[in-house]
Symmetry: C3
Subunit: 199 residues, 3 copies
């Protein structure tokens, strides 16, 4: 699980770094945007739960973002070419972060509904902060199902837990739920409806 978390952090960092590079930010800007994308969701969660940001006690996130930056700087053509693989990593990261958010929220006494909200915030929050930093409308408010996949995964978690499955089962179920919904949504271009505005 720790390794999967590292993969997710890496994928989130790369997604932030690529968008910042497209805006011609300098290397420091790339690092910051990569870092807030990777740890932003978890930081909001921790601040709201009243604990210190998780990356204060574990420098791994900082190191991964630095590594992603070095890699992207020297091999950005390669990275852009394997964007499909990166997308898969990103989806895995989304799922893992959602699960970690839910576990932490439930551990700290939050109700089921709030745990789902916090799970989705942990998974999708970094991308929203990233888009605010690069001065774009947050992508997740427009494109295909994204944060809703986190909500679905959270429901799977609670449902399986309710029926007394073991932690291994409902945690795997949560991660699988997020990944499957996200992949299906992308493949079949599922979109949430929009309100039609009259001119």
């Amino acid at each position: 699980m720790y390794w999967i978390e590292i993969i997710g952090t890496f994928a989130f960092a790369i997604s932030g770094i690529r968008l910042a590079a497209a805006k011609q930010f300098d290397l420091f800007g790339l690092f910051i945007v990569g870092f807030v994308t990777a740890v932003g969701g978890g930081t909001i969660r921790d601040v709201m739960l009243g604990v210190r940001p998780f990356w204060f006690d574990d420098l791994m996130s900082l190191l991964i973002v630095a590594g992603a930056l070095v890699l992207y700087y020297f091999f950005h053509k390669l990275v852009d070419r394997i964007a499909g693989t990166i997308f898969l990593f990103d989806t895995i990261g989304l799922a893992i972060f959602t699960l970690l958010g839910m576990i932490k929220a439930l551990d700290m006494g939050c109700s089921a509904v709030i745990a789902i909200v916090i799970g989705a915030m942990t998974g999708a929050g970094g991308g929203v902060i990233r888009d605010i930093f690069i001065n774009e409308e947050p992508l997740i408010f427009r494109k295909e199902i994204y944060a809703l996949a986190c909500v679905a995964g959270g429901l799977v978690y609670l449902l399986l837990e309710y029926f007394n499955f073991s932690p291994a089962v409902y945690r795997t179920g949560c991660v699988a739920g997020v990944i499957i919904i996200r992949l299906l949504a992308t493949k079949y271009h599922w979109q949430l409806p929009k309100v039609k505005m009259e001119k």
Copy 2:
């Protein structure tokens, strides 16, 4: 008072949902923007005061935003037509949230000046976060008196309390102060001066 808070939450949610719909966000985006508009100010207040966001323990806010979303989705033409009424609700919400912010800040030992700042943040903060999320310059920095009405209401609160009026009086005074200033400012197009820039 609880009912008035519900009305205010609803009005704030609708204001966020309408602006997000104008940006062609999807339903999920509408929900998020409505939610941060409704609870954003109180969340900033709670995080700064070091307590958990108020909506962790009371799912009413989530439900109201969901209800506002359903209503807007099916009846958005109607909602747009009664925008004037919505504006009144919004003003009531602003006043109530300002009062709630001041009460909480004073309860938790903040000084009078900080209580006014926190009251204004609670009232007007959601609108600022909303505008950041939809990638617009915050409206309250440009248009007619808005957050300043919160400051005025806060002053009324402290003044009446200082002269030993009962809580019922100074709380009503605070709410009335915000509403009256805001309505007058809108009716007579009161504007704060701007610094004239030379070309």
Copy 3:
């Protein structure tokens, strides 16, 4: 040191007020943007460390921002003319805030690396929030070395402390480090590299 902090707060406030005025925000908007520029970095630091924002207990920051606003409103041509001096103040503010952030982080048990991160956040965070509020891409991600000067100052601090120099020495060293790097970077247009994107 308290006086230098006041100078830094003033310079940060002016930088926010000037950018907000250029956007034709009203006086209240100028005050808010000046205030978040001046206290934003320290507020993020305090929220992450789990303590109340420093300006809750010391109204000096509020007063300085108010003073800067009055000054700018009446003498903005003069202020614009001495922009070079303001830049110097801003650099001093950056250095002082970085030092204050590091001291507070180390006091509260953070590791050396996190102390540097928090120092840089305290110094440079206000400018990022300012740019988000005025709906611009954060300047520090593009222009010459800025936040990296904070990191350099933080390294000087830790290095001198490691070799058992007295607090007076390593604190002065930290401030001097930030100022020197920032001034040199500006004078010689040092820039961090960017990733070259192919069309």
